[in-house]
Symmetry: C2
Subunit: 261 residues, 2 copies
C-alpha cells in the first residue's frame, strides 16, 4: 500500500519528490509519530533527512497544510493539527470509492437515462451552445442494499455517449469514465437542505416532504471544461461533509439559501 497513488484516480500522477515526501510525512503524522499538537522537525532537518533542497520540503509541507494536517507560522516549528486520514479527491467524487473506503458495499440502480436538448440551466452549468444536447441520468445509490441517496447527473453529449455504452449494472461510472481518459480535476460543490419530491420519496422509501441533504456539484477536467453537473440527495443521518479552511487558503464559503419552494 503506497498511499500516494492509492485511493483515487486511475490516471496515476507522477511520483515527484515532494509528493513522496508529503506522503511519507502524512503517514508518519497519521501514525501519531509526532502526536496531536506535537511539533514537526524543522525544514532544514527534513531537507537533510530526505536529501532534497529546502524548497522541495516546503512544497511537500504546503500539501499537508492545505489538507489541514499542520499549521505553519514564522518563528516556530509546524504543529500537528489533526492525525485523521485525509480523504482523496477520488473518494470524494465517487460514491463507490467512498463506500468501499468505509468497508461498505456500494450498489445502485439506474432509473432513467436519456438524451435530450439542454435547457438553460444545463447550458450555463456545462457551458454549452444553444441547441446542444445532454445526457441525463437518474440513479438511486445504496449502501449494503439500503437506499441512501438519489443522484441526478447531467453530462455533455460527448461524455454521455461514453456513459450510454456502459453496462447498466456498472457500479462506478466515475471510475469507468476515468479509465476511458475522462479526468476529473476540479469540482465546485454547494451544500444545502431540500424536501424530498415524489421521485425521491419513492426511490428512498421515505415520505414526500422529508428533509434531505443536497449536494450540487459541477466537475471540470484539467482543461477547465465541464464534465458533469450533478445533484445528489441524501437521507438524513447517512452522510456528513467535512471541510478544512484556513486564513491563508479557504475554499469554503457561505451563501444565501434558496427557500425550498
Amino acid at each position: 500500500m503506497d498511499g500516494a497513488t492509492q485511493g483515487g484516480a486511475k490516471a496515476a500522477r507522477p511520483l515527484t519528490l515532494y509528493r513522496k515526501v508529503a506522503a511519507d510525512l502524512g503517514r508518519e503524522i497519521s501514525e501519531g509519530a509526532y502526536g496531536s499538537g506535537g511539533r514537526l522537525p524543522a525544514e532544514g532537518e527534513l531537507a537533510e533527512r530526505y536529501g532534497v533542497s529546502r524548497g522541495t520540503i516546503r512544497q511537500a509541507l504546503s500539501v499537508l497544510r492545505a489538507n489541514g494536517l499542520v499549521t505553519s507560522r514564522r518563528g516556530t516549528r509546524r504543529v500537528v493539527l489533526r492525525t485523521a486520514h485525509v480523504q482523496s479527491f477520488g473518494e470524494l467524487l465517487s460514491f463507490t470509492r467512498w463506500a468501499r473506503s468505509m468497508g461498505e458495499e456500494p450498489g445502485g440502480r439506474i432509473v432513467r437515462l436519456d438524451l435530450d436538448r439542454a435547457d438553460g440551466t444545463e447550458r450555463e452549468q456545462l457551458r454549452l451552445d444553444d441547441g446542444a444536447r445532454v445526457c441525463r441520468m437518474l440513479r438511486v445509490r445504496t449502501l449494503s442494499g439500503r437506499p441512501v441517496m438519489v443522484e441526478r447527473t447531467v453530462y455533455p453529449e460527448a461524455i454521455g455517449a461514453l456513459v450510454a455504452e456502459l453496462d447498466a449494472d456498472t457500479v462506478s461510472y466515475t471510475v469507468r469514465l476515468e479509465e476511458q481518459g475522462v479526468l476529473f480535476a476540479d469540482a465546485q460543490h454547494t451544500l444545502d437542505l431540500v424536501q424530498a419530491d415524489k421521485d425521491d420519496a419513492e426511490l428512498l422509501g421515505c415520505r414526500p416532504g422529508e428533509p434531505l441533504l443536497r449536494e450540487r456539484r459541477r466537475s471540470t477536467d484539467p482543461a477547465g471544461a465541464p464534465i458533469e453537473w450533478s445533484e445528489d440527495r441524501y437521507l438524513p443521518g447517512t452522510v456528513a461533509f467535512t471541510v478544512h479552511s484556513s486564513a491563508t487558503s479557504g475554499s469554503l464559503a457561505r451563501r444565501p439559501g434558496t427557500p425550498p419552494a
Copy 2:
C-alpha cells in the same frame, strides 16, 4: 477599497509581493478581463509585467488555484474557472461579516451564557485537561430581524473571560475577539442535517422536529490551540455552503453520518 486587506481579520497580513499580484489578478478575473473559460497570460509574461521573478508569480497563481479561480496544467496557459467573488476566511467565520457582505442587517440575542466544568466531548474538542472549565454561549442570530440560526459556542476559560467582559448586545464576538488579539487561523467544519429540539424551535419560531442545516466548527489559533467549538443550526432556505475541491488539494470530504437520534 483595497480587496487585499479587506473583508477580514483585523490583524492585517503583510502586503507581500505575491499577495499584491494575486489580488491584482483576482480583481482582473472577477472583472471579466479574461472572460469565463479564457486564458491567462504566461508566467513569464506576468513576471515581466510585474517586474518580479517567475517564482513569485507562481506563488500568486497558486493562491488563485487554491481558491478555485483558475486551472493549471503543463503545456497550456491557465484557464479561468470562475469569475465569482471569493469569500474571505473572516466572512466565513463571522456571521456578522457574512451578513453585511450581503447587504443584510445582522442581529442577535444571547439566550444563555455560563461558566462550567468541561464535559468529555468539550475537553477533547478544545484539548483541555481534566477539570478544566469552559464558557458556554447560546445565541439566536437574525437577518434583518428575522431569526435564521441558533448558535451554541464553547470557549476555553481564558477566551471565555474575554467574552464575558463584552457587552451583551455586542454584534460580533468574533470581531471583538480579534481586536483583543485572538487570531483565527484554521477551522474544521462538519455539515449535516438535524431535527430542531425544543430550544431550537422556540428560538427560531419553528416546530420541534423541523429539519435544520447544522454546521459544527472547531477553530484554532496560529499556534494550533483551539479557540472555540461551535454548533450552528440554520433554518432551511436561509443558507447554502459552497466548497471548491481539486485533485491536487482537496479540503472537502464525505463521512458517515450520525442518525438524528
